[in-house]
């Protein structure tokens, strides 16, 4: 093997330009793979984080659009009942026995935290400006535990919300449009016409325009007062689990158990997660294509080398190199090209991803981004290395075997 390597090395060094071109093919393929995968997984991670922080693993709520079956149907279960154009009945949108449900869920195994929520559509008035949005009454401590709210605060702090009974945290988009600053008072009008004045104690940014432009947080009791309901009135229960993969199954069983609707995080963020899958598919498809091209390059160059080296192969075989020895000489060349090319590719990939991470990118109102999110995970560099070496080894296999099976007599006598 040592002998084979010394011959392989001499061959590679004898044609430095050709070796370099073959290597650069791999380098480019691996470099692009790493740059692509780093950016894509960075984006995935970003969207996942954003959707994770803004949505619970499971959300329990009453869906007012689900109408109970007509009374007639319960009287005659066997009959076909058809009632056209039913007018929605007045229906409460709060959870039945919300507080008991919370207490029960808290005791369940696998549940990391439970937070109550009272949310309502409201109008915000500041000066002449009137905007609609959502106010969410939260249990500050639980909300912080589940969603790490304080890390999203741009101004103010959570303790001041707790200390101010009529305090409110505004979404960054909402605050910007209303031109609100901490300390200002904003007037809030409920759908029923009740009007309250709340004090802005902070501004938060969750990272998604759809949330930051409409959402605000206030104390649970303040919103209950706003809606003129009793302290047991709760519209949503947000649950975080220790293992969020269980969410789908638990959501189904809880929905039945507590007779309410239950959404798991996968359902709630379906659009984001579809995006993730598509991004992954694109990344690997493009990278594999690039590597395939590099592999064909190596295949060609090796075939050419072997063609030029027929005389050498014949002589090596005559002086006692076995077909396997000869094959190894060329396999080693291709693996050496693969290893060096991949290593250079890792460097190129790192430089590319670093440059991408510096490039300014305005997420606009949709997401709060100023630069491309790039994931510098070592994992992708490992995958890139393995890809590069495997591709070149596979590309080198056929030509190398051909070289091993060259019949020396034909070459020697053909001279």
């Amino acid at each position: 093997m040592k002998q084979a390597w010394s011959i392989a090395r001499t061959h590679l060094l004898a044609k430095p330009k050709q070796t370099l071109v073959a290597m650069l093919g791999v380098t480019f393929g691996i470099g692009m793979f790493i740059a692509l995968v780093s950016l894509m997984s960075g984006l995935n991670q970003f969207t996942e984080e954003v959707s994770m922080t803004s949505s619970p693993d499971i959300r329990l709520y009453m869906d007012p659009t689900i109408q109970p079956p007509p009374l007639v149907a319960s009287e005659y279960p066997q009959a076909l009942v058809q009632v056209d154009h039913v007018r929605p009945a007045t229906k409460r949108i709060n959870l039945k026995d919300g507080l008991q449900t919370i207490a029960q869920l808290m005791a369940r195994e696998g549940v990391k935290g439970v937070a109550p929520l009272v949310s309502s559509q409201v109008f915000f008035n500041y000066g002449a400006m009137q905007l609609n949005g959502v106010v969410m009454g939260i249990d500050v401590e639980q909300e912080e535990r589940l969603f790490n709210l304080s890390s999203h605060l741009l101004a103010g702090n959570l303790s001041s919300l707790k200390a101010t009974p009529n305090g409110i945290l505004m979404g960054s988009g909402l605050a910007r449009k209303l031109n609100l600053k901490p300390g200002d008072r904003v007037s809030v009008t409920t759908p029923d016409g009740a009007r309250f004045s709340l004090k802005v104690v902070g501004i938060f940014q969750l990272g998604l325009g759809t949330l930051d432009n409409v959402r605000s947080y206030a104390n649970l009791s303040a919103v209950q007062k706003l809606l003129q309901v009793d302290p047991s009135y709760i519209t949503d229960i947000n649950v975080k689990l220790h293992n969020n993969q269980d969410a789908k199954d638990l959501a189904k069983s809880w929905s039945k158990e507590f007779s309410c609707s239950a959404d798991d995080w996968e359902t709630a963020n379906a659009t984001f997660l579809t995006g993730n899958i598509i991004r992954n598919v694109i990344t690997y498809a493009v990278s594999l294509t690039l590597l395939l091209v590099a592999g064909f390059g190596i295949y060609n160059i090796l075939n050419m080398t072997i063609h030029n080296k027929m005389k050498d192969i014949a002589i090596l075989k005559a002086i006692g190199y076995t077909p396997i020895d000869v094959r190894n000489i060329f396999m080693l060349q291709s693996i050496a090209i693969g290893l060096l090319g991949s290593l250079l590719g890792l460097v190129l990939g790192f430089i590319l991803s670093w440059l991408i991470s510096l490039a300014p990118f305005d997420g606009g109102d949709v997401v709060s981004l100023d630069h491309f999110p790039v994931n510098f995970s070592i994992k992708y560099y490992g995958i890139g290395m393995v890809f590069g070496v495997v591709t070149t080894a596979v590309a080198g296999l056929t030509p190398s075997r051909k070289a091993g099976n060259v019949d020396p007599i034909e070459i020697i006598r053909g001279q």
């Binding site: 002086i319 006692g320 076995t322 020697i412």
Partner: protein
């Protein structure tokens, strides 16, 4: 141990392409230790074909071949390669040195492949062979930069590095001027008389053949 290094019994070989053609027809041949034999004959009489059968490079033949008491008829390619490495040295008409390697490396390669001596030992031996053949001053040059005569001497040094039983030459002087022909012949002569290694050389040169121990003449695939 018997004095016979190589024994070929009724070697027959057919070429199938373009038309079936009997290149060797029941050849029987024995080569003794230290014998310097010349294979002569007209073009197409099968002398090169016989040489490559005897050298184990060509395995598509019928008959029996023994070298150093080992039957090689049914050996596989790997065994044959190792056998060649150990027992057979080659000198070809067109030198066939590896052009990217230095002269010294070219000579050392078969011995390093064999792997029973240390690199230093092999280098010493290679240097002394090159000295003996008068090309030691070229040892660090690339093989491709040498003249034809020098290359052929390096090829002989390479053929001898593993102390083979037999050296096979396919027109070893066929491409050389008269001065270098003389030099190369003398070297081969020395090898057989002083070191006791057998030599089989295919040649067209009657002068060359005349000075060998034995002349094997072939006509139409048979020895006469």
């Amino acid at each position: 141990m018997s004095n016979i290094v190589l024994q070929a019994t009724s070697i027959t070989k057919w070429y199938q392409d373009p038309v079936p053609f009997k290149a060797l027809d029941g050849v029987n041949l024995e080569i003794k230790k230290g014998e310097f034999a010349a294979l002569v004959g007209k073009s197409g009489c099968g002398k090169s074909t016989l040489l490559y059968v005897l050298s184990t490079l060509d395995t598509r033949y019928e008959g029996e071949l023994q070298i150093a008491g080992t039957s090689l008829r049914n050996a596989n390619q790997n065994d044959l390669a190792l056998f060649r490495n150990e027992h057979i040295g080659f000198v070809f008409q067109f030198h066939f040195l590896l052009p990217e390697f230095t002269v010294l490396q070219n000579v050392m390669i078969p011995a390093l492949k064999r792997g029973i001596w240390s690199t230093d030992e092999v280098e010493d031996r290679a240097q002394s062979l090159l000295k003996h053949l008068g090309v030691q001053d070229q040892s660090l040059k690339l093989a491709s930069s040498l003249s034809g005569g020098q290359q052929q001497r390096v090829a002989i040094a390479r053929a001898l590095i593993n102390k083979p039983l037999i050296v096979m030459g396919d027109e070893p002087t066929g491409n050389l001027d008269s001065y270098n022909t003389e030099v190369v012949f003398e070297m081969l002569r020395n090898i057989s008389t002083e070191m006791g290694q057998s030599i089989i050389a295919v040649t067209h040169d009657p002068e060359f053949a005349k000075r060998c121990d034995r002349v094997i003449e072939m006509v139409d695939g048979k020895i006469v």
